[in-house]
């Protein structure tokens, strides 16, 4: 054990020293130096931890032979980092960023952010955390149908928490309001955990939250439905999807996480990334650590993830059009 730690520390020091050195001028085999991986959230959060897990074997010869170094640029729900990444990151393949799917596109549509499909190119997806609808253990509501009936009796008076504006939870809420023709009051919190706490503490009546976080608190909750195309077989096999219950909510709100580069990065570089990133995500150590951390993997290659982005862009544009004025 202690040997491993020493290796990690030495590797980190070498990596830091190497980033300070200029890379060789001629483009040898990519990558010839460490790759910077920008994370739009604070160290210690779910996105940061998962990015650290999946990028850890990068220095292995089977993958990149160079480490990936995480740089956190938190602020304004991801806007600070993504705006910087789309407009100012080098298009060399040495600057890669982690995206959170509904956020990055929804912000670009709803907030006129200066990034989006035109300036960002997704390469590979590693994780997916669907939104689930949960109520407190003591609630009289047992099913999604109960919840909708309750909301119809009390239009606008049902409070429901989530992790902020234009994140998956907010998107799921908008979809539910439209599909079930109900009116809810969304209460944004600064993160998934505070939003869930507000439900457990009885401050709000329901919460759209991450499947992973809700699963950990399942003793205190009733999880009514999953906003995804399929049930979650690993963690919540008994919780139905909204679609099964006849409510038209697709996977637009699922929090997909993956790697992207700024558009304009040369093809010979993105080809290398597209080939090796999915292989790295399938690394045994990565899969084991993600499982231990209670995080679901959903690995997608370049074509699949680019189709996913196109499809979500269209769905989100349609959904958010009403809010645009």
């Amino acid at each position: 054990m202690s040997g491993d730690n020493a290796t990690t520390i030495v590797a980190a020091i070498i990596a830091l020293v190497m980033t300070a050195l200029p890379g060789p001028a001629s483009a040898q085999e990519y990558p010839s130096r460490p790759i910077m991986l920008t994370v739009a959230y604070s160290p210690g959060g779910a996105t940061d931890l998962q990015a650290r897990i999946v990028s850890q074997p990068a220095a292995d010869r089977d993958y990149f032979g160079r480490p990936m170094i995480i740089v956190n640029k938190p602020g304004a729900g991801g806007k600070v980092a993504w705006s910087w990444f789309a407009s100012r990151a080098q298009k060399t393949g040495y600057e890669v960023a982690v995206y959170n799917l509904p956020h990055v596109l929804a912000q670009s549509i709803a907030l006129n952010a200066d990034y989006g499909l035109d300036t960002l190119e997704p390469i590979a997806n590693f994780g997916a955390d669907p939104a689930v609808l949960a109520v407190s253990r003591d609630s009289s509501i047992e099913t999604v149908e109960d919840f909708i009936a309750h909301a119809k009796q009390n239009p606008g008076a049902v409070t429901i928490s989530g992790a902020g504006l234009y994140v998956g939870h907010h998107i799921a809420l908008l979809q539910l309001e439209r599909a079930a023709e109900i009116d809810l009051t969304y209460v944004p919190y600064p993160g998934a955990v505070p939003a869930l706490t507000s439900l457990i503490g009885g401050q709000v009546q329901a919460s759209f939250n991450n499947l992973s976080d809700a699963y950990r608190s399942r003793d205190r909750l009733k999880i009514l439905a999953v906003a995804d195309l399929d049930r979650d077989a690993a963690f919540l096999p008994n919780v139905p999807t909204f679609l099964e219950r006849g409510i038209d909510i697709d996977d637009s709100s699922v929090n997909f996480r993956g790697f992207m580069v700024p558009r304009g990065t040369p093809a010979e570089v993105t080809d290398v990334l597209a080939e090796r990133l999915p292989a790295m995500f399938h690394d045994e150590g990565v899969l084991r650590r993600m499982r231990e951390g209670g995080a679901s993997m959903r690995i997608m290659g370049r074509e699949e993830v680019q189709t996913l982005w196109q499809r979500h862009q269209a769905a989100l544009e349609a959904l958010l059009a009403d809010l645009g004025e």
């Binding site: 054990m1 202690s2 491993d4 730690n5 990690t8 520390i9 980190a12 604070s42 160290p43 210690g44 959060g45 779910a46 940061d48 931890l49 650290r52 897990i53 850890q56 995480i70 740089v71 956190n72 640029k73 938190p74 602020g75 304004a76 729900g77 806007k79 600070v80 709803a110 907030l111 606008g156 008076a157 049902v158 409070t159 902020g164 504006l165 234009y166 009051t185 969304y186 209460v187 944004p188 919190y189 600064p190 955990v193 505070p194 706490t197 507000s198 457990i200 503490g201 009885g202 401050q203 709000v204 976080d213 950990r216 608190s217 003793d219 205190r220 650590r289 231990e292 951390g293 209670g294």
Partner: protein, 500 residues
């Protein structure tokens, strides 16, 4: 008693080594302005990936304890708080150090940190289940009143007059509104790209405290000579222990305030020190000497800071609800090792959990020993000539501001605010209320907006914010705090007028 059963696990050589290393590292990191406990713990988590769970948690817990206590070192020696939690320590700690009593100030600091920290950990050990339920009761209306309670402290904090204090606090509250509003999704006061992410609290803290210090040092640098023309007095440890214990009232106030603020999720343990400081002053017979190097001020502030650590882990370990920003980061560290907070943590993973809690207890003792050792050498820092010190502090300030989120914008914000503060300080404005405004603004605003959303579709604003035992208690505390300040102001105004 399960703690005793697992305590020997803390004493294995590998665990002891990690604990000591984490504690020394934590004290040094904490003493560096800008490297807050939250950042230090966050940056360490990746290094724990390959450790076994108990060792990883011991390291993270030691760094958390060490950085919280270490932040007081720079607060006392340089007048620059290592983290927002140490602002209150600066007020009397640095004043005492400038009178040549730095070692004595550090003694008070570490002794009261030890007492507060120990009480906090004992609360964690004995009262975890009932207190976790208390923590859950706090909703937006209650957190709003907690923030207002913090605001009532602003007027009397370190400034020469209440009016200037309030003005500085208002500027802080305004600075906090810059950036992206999390509830409405609008940008406010973003006149430059550097402000998109808002004013980072750590960058502001470093700038407001460090830059005026640096410029002040350079002002006097022409005349050369050491920073401290102070006479350095050595101070016996026994005398310090006696002096600390004889101020048991300040210790008690600090510990109790720290425990309660630590328990409240999201209130920001950052204000524990300030609230305790203010209460201790209001209740002390020596209230007039607060701000001029009163040991009670240091003792109240530091016992509160460290008493907060244990209770902030109560809701974290039982419910997965962190009681402080650092505890929130620690949650990530737990999850990475497959330790999911909840009742299972104390049954299924009892060995890891109790070893961790045992290490926190032992960590308090190590923190005291290392801290007292550092105190003996504090004179080295105090005797550095001003121009060297100015350069060193500038480097630390730039490094600290940049490292928070790897952003040059934060450095620019830091330098701008700091330069402004230098001129404001010339007219008797103190940086402490500005920082408090920046901390409390978002807490008050966010909870007000959330509360409003909930109240308007439910029981209505008045009922939601003004009724219920918890709301009424908090409002009562706010009124008492304001009322007492007014009384004190009137009382001291009379003799002043008589003199004039």
């Amino acid at each position: 008693m399960e703690l005793l059963q697992y305590f020997p696990d803390v004493l294995t050589p590998w665990h002891l080594a990690i604990l000591s290393l984490g504690m020394i590292g934590g004290l040094l990191l904490g003493a560096t302005p800008g490297l807050s406990p939250t950042l230090a713990v966050a940056l360490l988590i990746p290094f724990t990936f390959n450790m076994e769970a108990a060792a990883a948690l011991i390291l993270l817990g030691a760094v958390y304890t060490g950085t919280v206590a270490g932040g007081a070192i720079s607060a006392i020696l340089l007048g620059i708080p290592g983290a927002p939690a140490n602002i209150a320590t600066t007020l009397d700690g640095h004043a005492l150090a400038k009178r040549g009593r730095a070692a004595e100030a550090l003694h008070y600091c570490f002794l009261s940190s030890f007492v507060g920290g120990l009480i906090g950990i004992l609360v964690l050990i004995f009262f975890t289940p009932p207190l976790a339920e208390v923590a859950l009761r706090f909703g937006p209306s209650h957190l709003f009143w907690v923030a207002i309670l913090g605001v009532t402290v602003i007027g009397s904090l370190g400034s020469k007059s209440v009016l200037k204090g309030l003005l500085a606090g208002a500027i802080g509250l305004w600075l906090a509104t810059i950036g992206y509003d999390p509830v409405l999704g609008e940008e406010r006061f973003v006149y430059s790209d550097h402000l998109t992410g808002g004013i980072n609290i750590i960058a502001a803290l470093v700038g407001l405290f460090a830059i005026p210090q640096v410029l002040g040092m350079l002002e006097g640098a022409g005349s050369t000579g050491p920073t401290a023309t102070y006479q350095l007095e050595s101070h016996g440890l026994a005398a310090s222990i006696a002096a600390t214990l004889s101020r048991w009232q300040a210790l008690a106030i600090g510990s109790v305030v720290g425990i309660f603020i630590g328990l409240i999720p999201g209130a920001g343990g950052q204000v524990a020190g300030l609230v305790a400081y203010d209460q201790a002053r209001k209740l002390s017979p020596n209230r007039d000497s607060f701000g001029k190097g009163e040991p009670e001020g240091i003792i109240a502030a530091e016992s509160a800071n460290n008493a907060m650590v244990g209770p902030s882990l109560v809701p974290l370990l039982t419910l997965g609800v962190p009681g402080s920003p650092t505890a929130a980061v620690l949650l990530g560290g737990l999850l990475i090792h497959g330790l999911f907070p909840g009742p299972n943590l104390f049954t299924l993973h009892a060995e890891v959990t109790w070893t961790f809690i045992g290490s926190l207890l032992l960590g308090q003792v190590l923190m005291l020993l290392f801290g007292l050792y550092i105190s003996r050498h504090s004179r080295l820092v105090m005797q550095v000539p001003a121009h060297y010190m100015a350069a060193a502090v500038t480097v630390l300030a730039v490094f600290g501001a940049y490292s928070v989120q790897n952003s040059l914008s934060d450095v620019i914000v830091m330098l701008t605010l700091g330069t402004g503060m230098y001129f404001a300080a010339k007219v008797g404005v103190s940086p402490a209320p500005v920082v408090l405004g920046i901390i409390l603004g978002p807490i008050a605003e966010m909870n007000y907006t959330q509360g409003k959303l909930i109240a308007e579709v439910g029981e209505g604003m008045a009922r939601y914010f003004l009724t219920g035992p918890l709301n009424i208690t908090l409002i009562g505390l706010c009124l008492a705090s304001v009322g007492y300040s007014l009384l004190a102001e009137l009382r001291s105004a009379r003799p002043r007028r008589a003199q004039a």
